[in-house]
Subunit: 360 residues, 2 copies
Amino acid sequence: MRVYNFSAGPSMLPEEVVKEAAKNIEDYAGSGMSVMEMSHRSKWYDAINTECLALVRELMNVPENYEIIFVQGGASQQFDAIPLNLLSSFDEKADYIVTGNFANKAYKAAKKFGDIRLVASSEDKTYTYIPKTTKDDFRKDAKYVYICENNTIFGGKYWELPDTGDIPIVADLSSCIMSQEIDVSKYGVIYAGAQKNLAPAGVTIVIIRKDLLGKANPLCPTMLNWQTQIDANSLYNTPPCWSIYMMMLNLRYLKKMGGVKAIEAINRKKAAMLYDFIDNSSFYNNYVEKDARSIMNIPFVSPSAELDAKFVKEAEAEGLVSLKGHKLVGGMRASIYNAMPIEGIEKLISFMKKFEEENK
Amino acid sequence: MRVYNFSAGPSMLPEEVVKEAAKNIEDYAGSGMSVMEMSHRSKWYDAINTECLALVRELMNVPENYEIIFVQGGASQQFDAIPLNLLSSFDEKADYIVTGNFANKAYKAAKKFGDIRLVASSEDKTYTYIPKTTKDDFRKDAKYVYICENNTIFGGKYWELPDTGDIPIVADLSSCIMSQEIDVSKYGVIYAGAQKNLAPAGVTIVIIRKDLLGKANPLCPTMLNWQTQIDANSLYNTPPCWSIYMMMLNLRYLKKMGGVKAIEAINRKKAAMLYDFIDNSSFYNNYVEKDARSIMNIPFVSPSAELDAKFVKEAEAEGLVSLKGHKLVGGMRASIYNAMPIEGIEKLISFMKKFEEENK
């Protein structure tokens, strides 16, 4: 039985995409081998790489003055790569806003490589809101302003980008990429680990405005330097071929179903169903301010930690899995990325109703 | 039709391993999801990670005073990680031996992070031999001596480790790991991209003697610091789960067929068949000195570049694919890793005979 998997990542893939991968796993496109076995210099893999890069550009409407690369190491590796690519020396400046655990990690990592300032944080209220900032909060000579757009753990979301004037915004979109339409031209750099909305784990997308390149710290390691993969069309060394192949299949599927605009409508509907149910319940609670709520990651609690544990266990028995909240938050968390069907939300809400009735 | 794939990497996996992966791709171990979809914190993935690490330790007989980790970024990322982990400051020393293209890349990368000396090179004869060195060639205060044990491109192989006295040897085993029994205790650090003998691309193994840890350059990025994954049992951030799962399946298979000792006997037989044929032919040539020949990567040429191109094309039509030599060498190259069956070598030799008869 296929379960509804609410994992924060790696997470569900569309069933059709997994079936397509299964069908071709032993022999891809008449090559006589699996995509897992073929040279990354082969004509088959070259076509996969090219199509996947093109699909990212098309589906996100990435302007021509932006590069797109595939890298390894996860978003965590970008925490170091960002200052190493954007700050030429250790005395150059960058401003960070911390709205959750991963933004905080990015901030701390950057301090090693530049003059980094914490401009705002929502830590005082357990990251349940997005701090207000104005253009004047940022240093005029900051090379970039860093945000994490969607907070996977605490469930907060930037619904309006901070006004940073001319300072480019660098944004971690790991848990919201391609979940809604965005205007890429408003960003300097976008990056995202693929294992939530795009592909199995192992590949990270980085999208960089071209004028921000060429300024890396001379000590930036080769594999952290974005230029390395830009110059090689993401084939500098052996890429994580299978993950990129799966991303291609998944993006083909997204395109077929209407692209990001279509999935955004479904995502908003899914999130609204769940938030409406929680807000109308006196049993469940979500603590994130309403204008800062993620439509991808929805944490909630029942009246007690004991009931939370019981909820997670009983939900799993019903095929609603990985609902346990992050250890920093406790309670439950429903991560409802692109591949989570509406039926999964309906089934979750039915279960929540039943659980409330049995335990209130 | 399944082909015999002589790619230098990514390369063939045992057919049984691909079939096992295919069987479980949609629902792993009754979890109701693919390994590609499950949380890396789930009980299923935790078991995969634990078993795979244990299989590496068992099959390579890794002593208890060595750590084993899985990282991303390929061997190329280790070119920077090695000096950043082993040299505490930019004035500490390391000595390099360059026996091919990747050793040369590692040497050049390291120069950014320490006092690096080139001790020996076989570039003068296109890397067709292993330079002789003695203990006195190395600086007494070098923190390590670097070698690439098997040269994927030029087909050379270290059959006896250099005598470095007390200086630890750091070795790139990307194209020979688990192809033959080795004594891990003779090394300080062993690392290998998995995409040749172990798994699909996306994961790299690093094996580190514990007393070499704790000395990283303060500027070492978090994801390049081996301690990061050591402290987290290789689960610091989302790992390339599918590649590690495939490695587990492949290592289970290797164990079942008798382990490294058993595959070494087969590998030696395969290589001997091909070298014997080449050496007894007046049509084909391999230029590597006999005592330095790889049993994994066997480059060879026909009498002309035109015939080489014809060979590659006609071989492909017979289901013998990816035989084109690396652009730095030309000619042909048969990469015959663990998963290449003896039947593949027999078929290649038959084809070589026929081609010789038709073209001599």
